[in-house]
């Protein structure tokens, strides 16, 4: 019996509703977009912390007032989260806290690791916010990354167990967005796997689905068996529906030697991939793959179309138990 992802709580909120909810701790990744700044100003919390990612290349003079913690690019997300959360409250420091996190400006590998990091820090339940943009600054030509993909690799700590067969049946599920270069790099890194492209549908805005499909066409030669039948769809602003679709897709794929997950689309979609991974795939033959880029644009969107709140119930996160051993260690 799988997890009923539709039962997880999510709600669309307005800016005016936000102050009514008070949190002990609010974390948000800093960037220059309006939607990140507005949410951080509006939410009420005892302690607000900006996480500053190297990938945005801010220097100290550009950083906002308030408490700031750096997430260095050279430090893997697991370690980075451990540093941040330990400074917030030490081991199990989130145990009694009400916590909210805005993932709108967060680097995707950090979102991928987020559920496990929160669970390890003792959190039971966390509200994750995401703000839809009204539009992107240059439509489908908006560049989110600055510079090319430098390498594709597994996110440390999300590497899973491996099987060993001459002709393995692996699958790669890619959550795609506008940046076809990222999809291309991921697909080319695992050319032997069965490729499934998961697209946001409905998309954040009505035109964005078509634009994503158009952009995806540029990566067609790298995607194995590129055709509509190898695509899956989930609402771009609903991580739990995304997780549900991944779960169904994995079931339909049958017995796999290894499952690779990678999400480079909208942040709620990334959260959905992450949520599926930590609820069902962690400790199994499954890994989270990511195309690492040197820099990201600081501001790619206009306005706020909607604000979403997703409640992560962290008791669902799997523990990483040691496999049963044969001959002893």
């Amino acid at each position: 019996m799988g997890i009923e992802y539709a039962a997880f709580r999510r709600v669309r909120v307005s800016l005016s509703q936000l102050p009514a909810q008070h949190y002990d701790l609010f974390l948000s990744s800093f960037n220059s977009s309006t939607r990140v700044g507005v949410l951080a100003r509006t939410i009420t919390a005892t302690r607000k912390i900006w996480i500053v990612h190297d990938e945005y290349s801010y220097d100290d003079s550009e950083l906002p007032d308030g408490e700031v913690m750096h997430a260095a690019k050279s430090v893997a997300p697991a370690e980075s989260w451990a540093e941040v959360l330990e400074r917030v409250g030490g081991l199990s420091g989130l145990h009694d806290m009400s916590v909210a996190i805005d993932i709108t400006g967060m680097m995707r590998p950090h979102i991928a690791m987020l559920p496990f990091a929160l669970q390890q820090a003792g959190a039971k339940e966390v509200t994750v916010y995401y703000s839809d943009p009204e539009s992107y600054v240059a439509g489908e030509r908006t560049r989110f990354t600055k510079g090319p993909v430098e390498r594709v690799g597994l996110i440390p700590g999300m590497e899973g167990l491996h099987t060993n067969r001459p002709s393995p049946h692996d699958a790669l599920i890619v959550g795609a967005g506008y940046d076809h270069g990222l999809v291309k790099a991921i697909a080319e890194d695992k050319p032997n796997a069965e490729h499934i492209i998961l697209l946001g549908l409905p998309s954040l805005q009505p035109h964005m689905y078509q634009e994503s499909v158009l952009k995806l066409e540029n990566a067609r030669e790298s995607i194995r068996d590129y055709r509509p039948a190898s695509r899956a769809f989930a609402p771009a602003n609903n991580p739990f529906a995304t997780a549900q679709v991944i779960a169904s897709t994995v079931l339909a794929l049958g017995s796999l030697d290894h499952l690779y997950l990678s999400a480079v689309g909208a942040k709620p979609q990334v959260l959905g991939f992450s949520w599926y991974y930590w609820c069902e795939a962690a400790g199994q033959n499954a890994s989270f793959l990511y195309p690492f880029v040197e820099r990201y644009e600081r501001d790619t969107s206009n306005g706020i179309a909607a604000i979403h709140a997703y409640v992560l119930e962290l008791a669902f996160v799997r523990s990483l138990e040691r496999p049963t051993m044969g001959p002893g260690r």
Partner: protein, 658 residues
């Protein structure tokens, strides 16, 4: 499937398809590499040479499929092919997480031994299903494993000593390692109990397998594909296995040329030497040594796909012929006439430009008379060659005049009735390709490419590139409503042009390396292509069918050299062996060719003929990532001024190109 060329990568083919589409190069097996060779072999090259196809052909699953009894096939073949992809190891796991590289090196060595041994036993177990080995036969394999990893033979629950039990032991250890390696990211600890000395487990197990009934004299060949996925330290360990290998084990390693990072070993820091510890073959170089055999190989590949698609052998042969232009005279008058159809004979674009430039330096009257003199309304190619001759004399220092035009006309006119001299025949044969390309270009048409041989040449000894060309050509022909795989009508020139152009774009995107390095390579080859384009489409091309340049590279900056070498490693450029003797002082220049797959992007000819000598400054302007676009454009403009009428360019005398 809409086309027999839809699938172009070996990874997209299942085992039966691999075997069905396999063609032996030169018509003989094991010409490129020999899986029975006791000498370890590296099979390298750029993407698309057919390495994976060949290695899978050698793999156990296909050995088994070729007969009814696996062990009989293996004995007949003389080897057991244990195939695996290095990408499956996900080598990036063995780094970081607060551990030193020494710790990871040790963990990886152990993991690799477990991995290879597990694969071997899984393969042998499959053979055992039809080999009717007794328990006593296989117990030696179990003991080899158990003793190597220091596990009491009865430690496993149930106490079995079958191949499956050995496999369980190894799998359990490896899975525990997987867990430990993953969790190091969360805990900062990497607590691994390495249970065997490097190589012991693997080679002892190989020897035990070699003692199985039926394995007498059989080589166990580990076919390690996608070797570029292993990091430097990981390759050092694999090289150590290669160096320390014990019979009956041997290795055949497949990987991209740039992915062979080192031949160093852990054996007292020794480096494996080519010829002593390993042999190395670059697959496209093997093809290139016999271009005729390569074309036959390609023809056979295409025939196999076409017949598999449902065409008869005769239809398949005819289809290959449909890739050629329609029959024409030696001056391509029908084809070029069609290209220029929308212009009145006296208004052909190159005549218009000729008149305009002469008007600038002489007069309207002279311009008109020159143009009239050089016109061959029924033979556009001769017209173009006469104009070229005229420009050559102008560039040589003679003022443009009707007399020169008459000389030029008289020079080419004998071609009309075939009364030409040997010198003129050579001029015609050498210059016609550029002239035809210029006529297309002048008429705002893309350069045409056709004919199986030309497309094979364009593939640059990479069979996948040929498949991609045919895939795109078939796509465009279908898009234009042509009967692509039926009938006898040639595939349209339009579909061929669009197809090769798409294939060229694909090649550039596919071949370039990842990251900033890839961007730098792309900028460099695009600059090179534009520079060569400026030569080919000039009034007086300094070289014939230019795709090649040479340079002594003296004084070229390190960053420019790094980009140039990366372009070579990734198949964006080819180095011509032997280089070229310098025109000035006898020293040897290195010679480089733009990869033929890229030539359609700039309307260049895929083959190699002329060779431009580049100065240090030119090489720098093209390959240095520090040179801005504006500076490169200036270098190109200087070239264009020198090569185009009225030939007023300031010529850099240091550059023999001019």
């Amino acid at each position: 499937m809409r086309s027999p060329f839809e699938v172009t990568k070996a990874v997209d083919l299942n085992d039966p398809q691999i075997e069905r589409t396999y063609v032996a190069f030169g018509g003989r097996e094991r010409v490129i590499v020999d899986p029975t060779s006791p000498m370890p072999q590296f099979l390298t090259g750029v993407k698309g040479g057919g390495r994976t196809h060949l290695m899978r052909h050698f793999s156990y699953s296909l050995q088994k499929a070729r007969g009814t009894h696996a062990l009989d096939e293996i004995r007949a073949d003389g080897y057991l092919g244990v195939y695996f992809r290095c990408s499956g190891l996900n080598g990036s796991r063995f780094a970081g997480k607060g551990q030193s590289s020494e710790v990871w090196s040790s963990a990886f060595s152990y993991y690799m031994d477990l991995w290879l041994t597990e694969l071997l036993i899984a393969t042998v177990r499959d053979i055992g299903e039809s080999a009717s080995w007794s328990d006593d036969d296989v117990v030696g394999v179990f003991y080899a494993v158990a003793e190597s990893i220091r596990v009491p033979a009865d430690a496993k629950s149930g106490g079995g000593q079958a191949l499956a039990d050995a496999l369980d032991l190894l799998s359990a250890l490896r899975v525990d390692l997987d867990w430990t390696i993953n969790n190091a990211a969360h805990t900062g600890n990497l607590d691994i109990n390495v249970r065997s000395n490097p190589g012991d487990l693997l080679f002892r197990t190989c020897q035990a397998v070699g003692d199985l009934p039926g394995f007498e004299g059989v080589r166990i060949t580990f076919l390690a594909d996608e070797y570029e996925n292993l990091g430097y330290d990981q390759q050092v360990y694999f090289n150590t296995l290669i160096r320390e290998k014990e019979a009956p084990a041997t290795f055949l390693v497949g990987g991209r040329s740039w992915g062979i990072k080192t031949h160093k070993t852990l054996s007292a820091g020794e480096e494996n030497k080519k010829g002593s510890e390993y042999e190395l073959s670059t697959i496209e170089d093997t093809y290139a040594r016999d271009p005729k055999a390569y074309e036959t190989f390609c023809r056979d590949l295409i025939m196999v796909r076409l017949t598999d698609f449902g065409l008869s052998a005769e239809e398949a042969k005819e289809w290959i012929g449909r890739l050629s232009f329609e029959s024409d005279d030696r001056f391509f008058s029908k084809r070029l006439g069609a290209v220029l159809d929308r212009y009145a004979p006296s208004e052909r674009p190159y005549l218009v430009r000729l008149r305009a430039v002469i008007r600038q330096v002489r007069s309207v009257t002279v311009a008109d008379e020159v143009a009239t003199t050089l016109a061959f309304p029924d033979y556009p190619l001769l017209e173009k060659l006469a104009i070229l001759r005229f420009y050559q004399q102008w560039a040589g220092g003679q003022a443009p005049s009707v007399d020169i035009a008459l000389n030029a006309r008289d020079w080419v006119a004998p071609l009309v009735d075939g009364s030409e001299s040997v010198e003129l025949t050579n001029f015609f044969n050498q210059r016609k390709s550029d002239a035809v390309a210029q006529i297309y270009n002048d008429a705002n048409r893309r350069t045409a490419y056709a004919g199986f041989s030309e497309l094979v040449g364009m593939s640059g000894f990479l069979p996948r590139s040929l498949l991609m060309i045919l895939k795109y050509v078939a796509h465009w022909a279908s898009f234009h409503g042509e009967e692509v795989f039926r009938g006898a009508v040639p595939i349209s020139e339009r579909a061929l042009s669009e197809g090769v152009l798409d294939a060229a774009k694909w090649y550039l995107a596919d071949a370039k390396p990842l990251g900033t390095e890839g961007e730098e390579c792309e900028i460099a080859v695009k600059r090179l292509g534009r520079y060569l384009q400026s030569i080919r489409y000039s009034d007086k091309p300094s070289e014939i069918d230019i795709t090649t340049f040479s340079s002594n590279l003296a004084g070229v900056s390190e960053e420019a050299l790094a980009v140039l070498h990366r372009c070579l490693e990734h198949g964006l450029l080819l180095e011509v062996s032997g280089g070229r003797a310098s025109r000035n002082h006898g020293s040897t220049h290195r010679k480089f060719q733009l990869h033929p797959m890229l030539t359609p992007l700039w309307g260049l000819k895929p083959g190699r003929r002329g060779d431009a000598t580049f100065t240090t400054e030119t090489v720098h302007a093209i390959f240095s990532p520090l040179v801005q676009e504006l500076s490169f454009s200036r270098a190109r403009e200087t070239l264009e001024i020198a090569l185009n009428a009225p030939f007023r360019g300031v010529i850099d005398t240091r550059d023999p190109l001019f």
